[in-house]
Symmetry: D2
Subunit: 140 residues, 4 copies
């Protein structure tokens, strides 16, 4: 469990909501994705669009995503997101996203991602590589 | 585990893909959502937009969603989706979505949903209700 | 032409971009929609989710949208949006959205919307109503 | 005005609709984009993901998009889309999208696109090229 926590706020938009007037679930996975990029920017000081080039990787590829929806988020609600890496393994890591509204947890999300590089024998495919210790160190 | 399986095919669209040229993960959760509606239509013979009215419910509200991404889906790929209810409980149920491309599993998704009604004392909140046996029976 | 201009900034997200690495055009129309709600909030002091109730309307329904794409917006680009109402008519109005990146105009968008109320004889349909003078006055 | 018309049908999905219960306008621009790819596939016999490679272009880049919303589309509505190229110019062309529901026009959309190639002196920028006569001929 790393100690670095990235926080952001966003206000639910009309177009993120469905006919029930609440955020349509795929929109939360969009929020997770963007938040992970911003978490890495905050921890590493490298802008999202420079991350791949900076570390010589293809990206931080998603292999698993999940969410529990505890409380609906409505148009105009202010969502507070707190994200952190809950575990670094050799080539993969887990990110936790806790979304709260007015102090109550609304959504608990989690992603598993890999440090992805080009496969040497087949450049169309991905391979995983060891996450550099200096990257892990920056998350505390 | 129910025996009724709903299958559909779709072709990956340009706008579903990200700068890596592969389907952006929230788009898979859109596919799961639509597929669950169609699975229920196929099993029950009730159109999605008539489901709530037909059964006197608010809807089949999502409480949990998850996906494993095993193989990327690219622009133009034909995705074959097979969906079924893996378990009915008293007020909730699980739906499994298996997405394959050219015979290989690309994404394994799962949703947990509840049979949702209006809360009697606070109509702004939801409550769960028992899933009618005749609904469960239609899934085999 | 009103004088009230609403400005906001946003950074292009990974999931807003297509395989060409640039913002997928429908995402700009999402930006227009949200920006119009925020323009009204800024001018009127009424939060988007309270607008309909506050003025006894159904909403500010879109009847026309258009955009010129002059310069692509890439992942990580900071987009500066300036929005204003270019014309108020009796029951409708035009909103202009100018999106610039690094000082250069990237997208010019425009929406035409109506002050929409329930049709009295058929509540499933919309009708237009006269925009209150005090609303128009707040846009300068 | 070319004579080749491409038609498709789609059913409005839950996640395409907003809290008013109608299709959120950017979703129509997604439909236009996909329909244009399919129109080209139908006319040219080249699959969308092979189009750029087949003709040695970067793509058919959008420079202008617009839509009139005449009638709302609701969850479950069957939308009939008819698309055609209304004009070919030397390096650009216009596509018209007519969306109807139950025989009534619901949305009239239009796109202007260019036959886009890499700029020779600056490969990061696009240039336009003459549309091959054999491409135009296939649209009748």
């Amino acid at each position: 469990m790393t100690s670095f926590i990235f926080r952001r706020q966003l206000t639910v938009e009309w177009g993120q909501c469905d006919p029930a007037g609440i955020v349509f679930n795929p929109r939360f996975f969009e929020m997770f994705d963007t938040t992970t990029w911003l978490l890495f920017e905050a921890a590493l000081g490298v802008k999202p669009d420079a991350l791949a080039r900076h570390y010589g990787i293809v990206g931080i590829a998603l292999v698993d995503a999940r969410a529990n929806f505890l409380k609906p988020a409505k148009f105009g609600d202010v969502i507070e997101i707190a994200a952190r890496v809950t575990e670094f393994r050799r080539t993969s890591f887990d990110v936790e996203h806790r979304l709260s509204i007015g102090g109550d947890i609304a959504v608990e999300g989690a992603e598993t991602r890999v440090w992805a590089v080009r496969n040497k024998t087949d450049p169309d495919r991905l391979a995983t590589a060891a996450i550099p210790p200096e990257v892990i160190a920056k998350f505390g």
